[in-house]
Symmetry: C2
Subunit: 229 residues, 2 copies
DNA sequence: TCAGTATAGTGTAGATACGACACTATGTCA
DNA sequence: TGACATAGTGTCGTATCTACACTATACTGA
């Protein structure tokens, strides 16, 4: 390693845009910073990458440590590295976005004394660093990706009704979809497995529950199938 | 900056996958490494990010220095940071991909003494670091992106024939397209401006030249237009 | 100069996919 | 048991996609 001393080196972080969904809104998980810079401000969960872990491992570790989340859908989003984006020194951040079913996780409980909360993406407080920009890019990516990759399911419980699924798409795409056309299209893809269970505890006729058949999806993809909403 | 000493820091590079096109093949620009590690091996053009320049600036600077390329289409691809991807120490690389019209640039002449050459993407030599993986990701991105963003033009001269444009798509997508359907579709989008010039020096009826109307495209996008091939 | 050749440029018809649209069925609750 | 809330279902007109073949034009070389 005789030559290594000449490399410029930058601090490296990961930040995660964690999306969740309640019945009305698309939500994003934010953490209130405990220390400077930006102490007290809300920020995306994230932190420094250790020198012996991969970027994705770092993102998953931070999600676990800061929000108690594990085994979530996680994909790299974009890398932000403008000089000056961190007031301390040059810090490059590799941003990831995650999709979780809010009901699966008790976020608050898992976060060691630090404030964590879900915010509607339409009503986010002022954020630390350039996290507002990161969130904006993540939202665009989500909107773009949801129509040609079956990732909407990640925001729902494993078993869900077709109406719930339709709502996922309506909220993300910000437009209404026709119920019959939506059902026809999604069912004809053959990615949903009908269960013999129905919704519980609703004050009206209960809807049938479906499950996303990931094995079937992978199999179809090999044959050239393209998901498209 | 009293707290900065505790950050882990990683060496940071950018690498560029530069795509070009000749009449037969999609090409990628490679540089033969002059120094260890991997001295003598082919690699993607790239290098260390300076602490005072943005990531994209670094990519453009490396393209200029190593390949004599400037003002090309350039977009961030993905960030690769597995520990061990560089034998020296932890090096994280932010990969970009670029699209250029090969004819516009005399690559060889501009590269100071180092070997630079275009290779067919189907016939690439063994590459340094994890650059084979980077190239693979870039190819997937290109194939995915070309159908819903008007980037095919970037691989052609400013004025081109419809047949040339069709060929771009056929080569990238690796399938043949119907001539009449292609022309109808692309012309109906209204993104091409017909010039009053025709092809020169061809041994057959000369085709009309068209130009991509970027202003028109941006204007249509604002009104909700989506390019889709 | 004319025959050959290489590509340019053009239209249609059948099949498929998409969007718009409204009523009946089933369960809960008061 | 009646009011309510949502589940679940089919059709038809329209737009879009695919497949397909011939004539026009310019250059080439004998």
């Amino acid at each position: 390693m005789a030559y290594s001393y000449e490399f410029p080196r930058a601090a490296l972080t990961v930040d995660c845009v964690v999306f969740g969904l309640d019945s009305e809104d698309l939500k994003v998980l934010l953490i209130q910073r405990g220390i400077d810079p930006f102490a007290g401000k809300w920020a995306l969960p994230g932190g420094f990458v250790r020198l012996d872990e991969s970027l994705e491992d770092a993102a998953r570790r931070e999600l676990q440590e800061e929000a108690g989340l594990s085994k979530v859908f996680l994909e790299q989003l974009y890398t932000f590295g403008d000089p000056g984006r961190d007031p301390r020194e040059r810090v490059v951040t590799v941003a990831y976005y995650a999709l979780v079913n809010i009901g699966d996780h008790n976020v608050k409980a898992a976060t060691d004394a630090r404030n964590a909360a879900w915010f509607s993406v339409t009503d986010v407080p002022s954020l630390a660093f350039d996290h507002a920009k990161v969130l904006k890019v993540a939202l665009e990516r989500l909107k773009g990706k949801v129509v040609y990759q079956p990732i909407g399911f990640e925001l729902l419980p494993r078993k869900f009704t077709l109406t719930q699924l339709q709502k996922v798409y309506e909220i993300i795409l910000e437009r209404e979809l026709d119920k019959r056309n939506f059902r026809r299209k999604i069912l004809e893809m053959g990615l949903l497995e009908e269960t013999d269970e129905i919704e519980q505890d609703v004050a009206h006729r209960a809807a049938r529950l479906y499950r996303f058949d990931e094995a079937k999806y992978k199999q179809l993809v090999k044959k050239g199938f393209m998901f498209e909403l």
